[in-house]
Amino acid sequence: MLSQISLQEKTALYLSGVNKSFDGFKAINNLNLMIAPGELRAIIGPNGAGKTTMMDLITGKIRPDSGEIYFRSAIDLTKHSEAEIANLGIGRKFQKPTVIETLTVFENLELALAGKRRVRDALLFRLDPQGRARIDEVFDTIGLDDRRHHLAGSLAHGQKQRLEIGMLLAQSPELLLVDEPAAGMTDEETETLSRLLKSIAGEHSVVVVEHDMEFIRSLDTTVTVLHEGTVIAEGPLAKVQQDQRVIEVYLGR
């Protein structure tokens, strides 16, 4: 299907023939995926389809057994650590909202703010006007302005999700990986989130992993269906939903 992707094309993210097994269990099986710059992509799949493993592979948390993972068509991600990959411009949002609960909302964003990450830089850090302006910009996007100096731990679930996306934005990544953002959210929160993600795409490439169909529908974008660690269908949601294999493994149940 997609195995003939050429590296010559400009891609934000490129995975080709990626394999990863855990104790003989093939979590990722000859996975091919290509995300164009500025694209918003939804990835769905039943539990155990390998969605989170894929995220772990891209962000350098684990290494593939074989296959290629390239960022911006040129950078081999399998050769970098998590921190390096983050600094290259890939931000990751976890399934469970992980913000630093004992710091304020503002401090969370300040930590995530793009900039030098060495020990010395952190010791001598003073927030400059550009940084402050960038944080204000992020507040404009995610809301939460009235919660600026509240502890992040005091936020509601949906607010934490938004803060975490804000942290990704402050990092100014080219590519955002968002893992099941709608989990545990109210309908209203889900709607806000969907609008937020759509507004981010274009400037950034965004990959959303999700299995809430309503949420996927509201994103209104290309959908990739993952099953047993491999892509079984790709296209607009309406088309994917017609696919016989997709119905079999996922939607039909």
């Binding site: 921190a83 630093i100 004992t102 304020t104 930590l111 010791l123 850090f125």
Partner: protein
């Protein structure tokens, strides 16, 4: 745990720090202690009820050095979540470096009167000074070693442990093993550190008689001043962005990595700083108590430090200092009055603190209505 109070006022960070209520209050208390105690000891006549004996003064000086050790542990445990159960090792190494200097100061006044060799070496029939004792006759060299030995060990240990991402209980167990291994090593006579008996029978420091009241008072004041400096330094670290990265590592380590921070570098830096502070504390402890022996490496000592910090309130720095004072005062009292009860009491204190006072005495203070107003404005 609201460990980071945002600093909003302008000016250099150090000025902002001194303006902070908790810091200035802490420094004032320490200054008062450093001025009052020597006055009560030296200027107030012995028969006055306000007289402070040299024994009490030295005891307080010992507590001050323990407080510094607790500060070092709180810096890594309270802020970065590194539960070191071997910090006594860095304290003892600093202490040994100071002890070696003090031994060389004895000169030919030892029991055997050897101009070069400390008594225990003469006793072991050694004919020359081992190479690692060279240079310790110079104070500047010993002072350098007080910083370098604990710092280097912490760097080597931390580099291996943090790079391999050893965390949590596994890290605690290795630190415990580290101090235990050092204890066994220092117990051996062949190591050249006085074996079982350690280093003792010191005569003077920088030419001043260690037994004299003037020297004791000076040591007390020096300890207080260094504790104040260490406190301000730790406060500077924890209120900088570096401190917020530490808190992030403590609360969500992998999140911090995905934000692009090299977590192992941050941990290594703070671990080394903490070990150096512990080493200085040990070096201040030895001339005041007059002995250093391998017992200081014992794992129980390191665990006790954790109890001081937990009881005082972790992640606040001054909580650790309060904890060190209270627990050690209680220890001094109970080991004399009811020696067989002390360990039960210590264990009981720890259990009660963990169950009912998760934020320690510092947390309790925050809840008292009298003090509430000030702490609230601090946190606002």
């Amino acid at each position: 745990m609201t460990s980071t109070v945002p600093l909003t006022k302008g000016g250099p960070l150090i000025v902002q720090l001194l303006r902070e209520k908790s810091t200035s209050r802490f420094l004032m208390t320490l200054a008062a202690l450093a001025i009052l105690m020597p006055v009560l000891n030296l200027a107030v006549p012995q028969d006055s009820m306000f007289h402070v004996s040299t024994y009490t003064l030295t005891l307080l000086g010992k507590y001050l050095s323990y407080a510094m050790l607790a500060l070092a542990v709180d810096l890594i445990w309270g802020y970065c979540g590194i539960l070191s159960l071997g910090h006594g090792a860095f304290f003892a190494l600093g202490g040994y470096a100071m002890g070696m200097y003090l031994m060389r100061q004895v000169g030919d006044r030892g029991v055997y009167g050897d101009p070069l060799l400390p008594d225990f070496m003469v006793f072991l029939n050694w004919s020359e000074l081992p190479w690692f004792w060279l240079g310790f006759d110079q104070f500047w060299f010993a002072a350098l070693m007080i910083l370098l030995v604990p710092g280097t060990l912490a760097f080597a240990f931390g580099w291996l442990a943090f790079r391999s991402r050893v965390t949590g209980v596994y890290l605690s167990i290795i630190t415990q093993a580290l101090t235990y291994a050092l204890m066994l090593a220092f117990f051996r006579n062949e190591m050249g550190f006085g074996g079982n008996n350690g280093l003792t029978d010191f005569k003077d420091i920088l030419g001043f008689d260690l037994q004299s009241d003037a020297t004791r008072n000076t040591l007390f004041v020096v300890t207080a001043v260094l504790l104040a400096l260490a406190y301000v330094f730790c406060r500077w670290i924890t209120t900088s962005k570096f401190g917020r990265v530490l808190v992030a590592v403590r609360d969500a380590e992998s999140r911090t990595r995905f934000m692009g921070y090299r977590v192992e570098h941050y941990k290594l830096f703070v671990f080394v700083v903490s070990a150096v502070i512990a080493g200085i504390a040990g070096a201040l402890y030895v001339p005041q108590v007059g002995i250093i022996n391998p017992g200081e490496f014992s794992p129980i000592n390191s665990i006790e430090i954790i109890i001081w910090v937990a009881i005082g309130g972790r992640g606040t720095l001054y909580g650790a200092v309060i904890g060190a004072f209270i627990v050690n005062y209680a220890k001094t009292y109970f080991t004399a009055a009811f020696p067989e009860l002390w360990l039960f009491l210590l264990g009981g204190l720890f259990v009660v603190t963990t169950l009912y006072l998760p934020k320690g005495i510092k947390g309790l203070m925050d809840r008292l209505p009298v003090l509430r107003k000030t702490t609230l404005t601090e946190g606002a």
